[in-house]
Subunit: 526 residues, 2 copies
């Protein structure tokens, strides 16, 4: 068995351009839990005050598999562990398991911490000991272990032994600089396993392009705990990519770290994390990228049609991905049948509605829509295609004016005119901090008269992505909105060259979804 | 010694979205030649008529190191090699060295070629033989070799021996489906080396995230010829990345495949190929990405300043890259000193200017600004704090109107009034596909009169992020803009509750940065 330890939210967020809000983090934790991850490193409460707040909120989550773990350092703010605010912050999270890192490389003890090698051993032992005495399970990250071992193997082993003596439950060997090669990892993990009788973990970085291979060779040499991030987020070239490691462990080495059904969620979870990070999903990523099972060359397409083994190393459905033939698509329609079977159970891939929905989706995707993080928009599209949708209002027009004055003050005003299904017209106006807010308020003013339930809906996230970067400010943009009524969350999407129009689409979808949801709940037969 | 064989132009162009013109190809060949690559696979003349033309033009190039090689298949258009148009197309290029691929996996002989295993051996031997008899050096690519070897090692070896008998000069073992693990590669390369007395090559794909590691283990097991692509372009998840493999061979294994000076061009060549492929450069790529030696965490920055070995596995200058200190709220005053030392060399962390800049930055970061991807805004802020900045124009006001009509058509109009340093006022108006474009155009209309150099600036990326998700559409947003004048790229940032204002800030910074840059270039003393 191998324990999976995700650090997307901590080490991953050290990556350039990677940042998660507290809301994002909670959604990611729920997704990682569904996937079967055992430990989720949520943040560094001793170094980041925002993470203190996060750990409070994370306690409320009901998780099936995962434990949320705080990360910190061995003591450095005080010589007395019980006075070190960084260690105290770990205790304060209330987490049962905590992770701390310490120095394995003499160079770091002397040049960075500026303590003697002996003092460093004491720092490790007393810090781990303080946490275990306070009833915590401690995962000990041996920073720069491989570099340290090559410099002075004896000293590096002593640092591990100090953590072991103090009661650490797992010792994680880190290739912090990411420069080591697979055979070095194999040799050193074996050497450690021969000396130390505790579970050994492996944590690697990708600076030589070897992070995934180094992790796999670490496991083949005996490591039973694996740390990584999704989509390889992380400082510099990133951490070892869990979305490659998990299927490699399960499908190549036969290690049952997640169930077959959990593995099928891999591609979706990876894409969700990209969306929440507001970064383009790397479509060439092994296993989870859109290109990973895409066939372009004529000979290859011919061959995979004869026998898919000829150019596919695994069945893409094992990881929730799909084969793509870059000319025509067959797999697409069956995926749709599967996707909507709850709402519309009795349709097969050849029924006209499925074909129509597939074509509408293809068109929309070509235009830049993306439904992975906008399932509410996809649901509305489905109902429209299946003719079970009835509009809630007609737009007669809107106008938004944004002004900036000489004194740098600003004003944003929206006016809007809508007609409800009974033909009644509302004409409203509102100011907002920005144009989208002004529009949002004016629209609600108009609709809440007819539909008071909308008062409960608030928008929880708003993202914009430029689709054709070369067009600059004239480019098409995609807006993703997340909304909530306090019970459910849902995502919607809009696309346009005009950011106000794209926002308007996502905004109206998010309100209409709420209304549709409520209507079908109240009268399940309509 | 290891021979480097680049197939960016052939196998790389099988990647989704990758395409090169003949002109692009010639430029890439010259760059690869300067870098010291030994063989450059230029195309597949038997399958692509454009490649026939390319090989004609490639002959004119004066290359120092590299040989341009055509790629083709063993015979399949005729049972007689001398009548197979695919083989004849190879001869027609006039190249001294040619590469052909054949089948090593029984499954492919029977299911794809639909010939007997014995016939397949004859196809290989007669095809290689035809080329060697015509005076060509033949590199033989054994497609699916590792999968074939695992299925039937004896048969796979027979295919190699057939090519060897016919006079091939090098046998390349291919992991065509990219699903093999490093230790399998090691074992199989060793087994082949024990049986066959010819130089062995290695060609891997990245479907399990292992391409670079598999190549390196192949070399450690005895392979002396390495095939790959730049930036890992290639079908599905891509080929083995030569921009990782070359420095791994040279700096980690001490194999002198290129000279020290050639290696220094690595980052530039990799970026040039991205530019010519018209694809965003992967900045997290090992060795050659902009993030590869970027430091963000405060502790890490502190440590690399004390000793760069602490968080860098190699000196970035070896591969023509450089260290970057990312300015973020985790970095302290010493990071700022280091960051600005080129422009303002004689300041230490306690000087009043550094303190003032640090405080301004802290305030800005608390307000939501982020300078990691907006170094131009940071530079402008620095010059403002150091009083070396003089504004280029005054805004007297702007107004943006976005209207949506009953027929769903839209209009976005901006008007703007600015005053230049001489007191001249411009008042302009423009339509745009969206409000930001309208504003951008109106602003340029006004400024280009005074500053014609702005015509060269175009915006290459535009990102928006909501900072306080709970506030919904009323939340603060951060806009990041990337701009280019065709030579340099720079990023700027703006923050506001109003997306138009945030865009305005980033937009004006990006134009002002260009003007500032040009002014300091023209008159270095001001």
């Amino acid at each position: 068995m191998v324990e999976l330890y995700d650090t997307t939210l901590r080490d991953g967020s050290q990556g350039e351009g990677v940042a998660f809000s507290v809301e994002d983090k909670l959604l990611i934790i729920e997704a990682l839990d569904r996937l079967g991850i055992h430990y989720i490193e949520g943040g560094y409460p001793g170094s980041n005050p925002k993470d203190v707040e996060f750990f409070k909120q994370a306690k409320v989550l009901k998780l099936q598999h995962a434990e949320v773990v705080p990360f910190g350092s061995t003591r450095y703010r005080s010589n007395i562990p019980s006075e070190d605010t960084n260690l105290l912050a770990l205790l304060d999270t209330g987490a049962r398991t905590v992770t701390i890192f310490g120095k394995s490389w003499k160079l770091h003890a002397t040049d960075v911490l500026r303590v003697t090698p002996e003092d460093n051993l004491d720092i490790i032992e007393s810090s781990v000991g303080f946490l275990t005495e306070n009833g915590r399970q401690v995962i000990y990250d041996a920073e720069h272990f491989f570099d340290g071992f090559q410099d002075d193997s004896d000293y590096a082993l002593q640092t591990l032994k100090a953590a072991a003596r103090a009661g650490a439950k797992c010792l994680v060997l880190c290739d912090t600089n990411g420069g080591r090669l697979p055979l070095e990892i194999q040799e050193i993990v074996r050497a450690v396993m021969a000396e130390i009788d505790l579970p050994i973990g492996i944590h690697t970085h990708n600076d030589a392009g070897m992070a995934v291979a180094n992790t796999i060779l670490g496991v083949q040499a005996g490591a039973s705990h694996v740390q990584g991030t999704f989509n390889s987020y992380g400082e510099r070239c990133g951490n070892a990519n869990l979305s490659s490691i998990i299927p490699n462990l399960k499908l190549k080495l036969g290690i049952d770290c997640v169930s077959d059904n959990q593995l099928k969620q891999l591609a979706d979870v990876s894409r969700l994390i990209s969306e929440l990070a507001n970064l383009p999903h790397d479509e060439r990523q092994p296993y989870v990228g859109k290109s990973a099972f895409a066939h372009k060359g004529g000979m290859h397409i011919d061959a995979v049609k004869k026998n898919r083994l000829t150019f596919e190393h695994i069945d893409p459905e094992f990881v929730g991905n799909q084969q793509r033939i870059l000319v025509s698509d067959q797999a697409g329609r069956s995926a749709i049948v599967k996707k909507i079977e709850k709402a519309y159970p009795n349709y097969d891939r050849n029924s006209p509605e499925i074909r129509a929905l597939f074509n509408r989706m293809k068109e929309a995707e070509n235009a830049g829509y993306q439904y992975e993080a906008a399932e509410a928009s996809f649901e509305l599209l489905t109902h429209k295609v299946f003719n079970s949708y009835q509009s809630f209002f007609d737009l007669l027009g809107f106008r938004v004016i944004i002004e900036k004055f000489k004194d740098h003050s600003m004003r944003s005003e929206a006016t809007i005119k809508v007609k409800d299904p009974d033909g009644k017209v509302e004409h409203t106006a509102a100011d907002g901090d920005g144009p989208v807010e002004a529009l949002d308020i004016a629209l609600r003013k108009a609709l809440e008269r007819f539909y008071p339930a909308l008062q409960k809906v608030h928008l929880t996230d708003y993202k914009v992505r430029v689709l054709d970067t070369k067009a600059g400010t004239g480019a098409k943009v995609r807006v993703l909105i997340e909304a909530s009524d306090g019970i459910e969350h849902w995502g919607t999407v809009g696309v346009s060259e005009n950011i106000i129009q794209a926002s308007w689409e996502a905004l109206t979808d998010s309100l209409e979804y709420k209304l549709y949801k409520d209507r079908t709940k109240d009268c399940p037969d309509t």
